[in-house]
Symmetry: C2
Subunit: 215 residues, 2 copies
């Protein structure tokens, strides 16, 4: 095995900045870089084996997506963990979008996409369930057939994912059942039921997450 560039380097010739962006985003989502932590351009450049320019571009994109913030002449840092007010705002926004998305998905989702919906019942671990949950909501958002809806929810769910991972919340039977109800409504092409089931799911999910915040 003489494979030289094996460790943590990036080689693909398809845009270094994009590759760095995905990698850092993954590190933030997996809490490998915890919230409210400084992110050094130099360190990342050395660790990933690339120059500072693509790092800088990737961090600029992450900043535009709200995952890191920049202070002039002080560098980048990951956003602090959500507080109560931010959690409230996030779920208020989700309640505006996702029930509507579920309705449209029920009415117009392609059969091939519907077949991919899984409730997460078979998830073997916390991380696996988190990934399946993210994919579940992503599929429904995509099923709504509106790119703005899909993109907005993707951005939001990243923050939900981080928040949930901070507390390693358990895989509740409730969440699985709520997912199943949504899946059933979509398969039945019942827009009203899908919208109601999604609204209920988000409200319950908010209740489960809110308990983790004391301040």
């Amino acid at each position: 095995m003489l494979n030289e560039t094996a460790d943590r380097t990036i080689a693909r010739p398809s845009g270094l900045a994009e590759e760095v962006y995905r990698r850092v985003r993954a590190d933030i989502m997996s809490l490998k870089i915890p919230p409210d932590t400084r992110v050094s351009v130099d360190s990342l450049a050395r660790e990933l084996g690339v120059s500072q320019t693509p790092i800088r571009e990737a961090l600029s994109m992450l900043e535009a997506n709200g995952l890191v913030s920049k202070r002039h002449f002080a560098g980048y840092a990951t956003s602090p963990r959500m507080d109560r007010a931010q959690l409230d705002e996030l779920f208020e926004f989700r309640l505006l979008i996702e029930p509507h998305a579920a309705r449209k998905a029920a009415e117009a989702m392609a059969d091939t996409d519907k077949a991919q919906l899984a409730s997460g019942e078979a998830a073997p671990s916390h991380d696996a369930f988190a990934d399946m949950d993210t994919e579940f909501h992503r599929l429904i958002a995509q099923g709504a057939g509106n790119h703005l809806i899909a993109d907005s929810l993707a951005r939001l769910h990243i923050h939900v994912h981080i928040f949930r991972s901070c507390f390693r919340s358990e895989i509740t039977e409730e969440a699985v059942h709520e997912h199943d109800a949504i899946i059933a409504a979509i398969h039945a092409r019942d827009g009203d039921k899908a919208e109601a089931a999604m609204r209920r799911h988000i409200e319950r999910s908010y209740g489960r997450l809110r308990d983790f915040i004391k301040d």
Copy 2:
């Protein structure tokens, strides 16, 4: 007048990338850089008198906001003008968010902010009306007290602004009257009326803009 750095250069020591971002965004919104036009890093660097690095950062942020797109080894280009499908998606999204924002603004908006609401009746020109309209919707979104709502709508209204500017649509009496109805409802703190008035305004606005698209 011996002011040397007067032309189109940038000097403020508060983050060059941010300054470049605002400038390029303004140029795109004013159609000084039309849709579907290539944007050269070198040219911008020479024109603004700064290095390539802040240009690159600013373009990365603009890309994350959907105003330009990048192709590997081919450079940046402004997004093409919205087609019918994108316009439909945009207004579907606005109808999900803005009526709710108007309701919350009516219920909780600060008096000092309410005093700033203007229908745009006194706008002397097309550009002035466009700016007042943007500010009108921004104030209401801010009045909803949810940063996610405010940020999402700000992003969307940029595209509305560009689309409208492409056709230099007239200042309709209708739009002013619709704005007045919203303002009246907010001053009366009537959430139901504010939500209904905003929904009606967006639906009418969609009808006025849709006529410009033939394809």
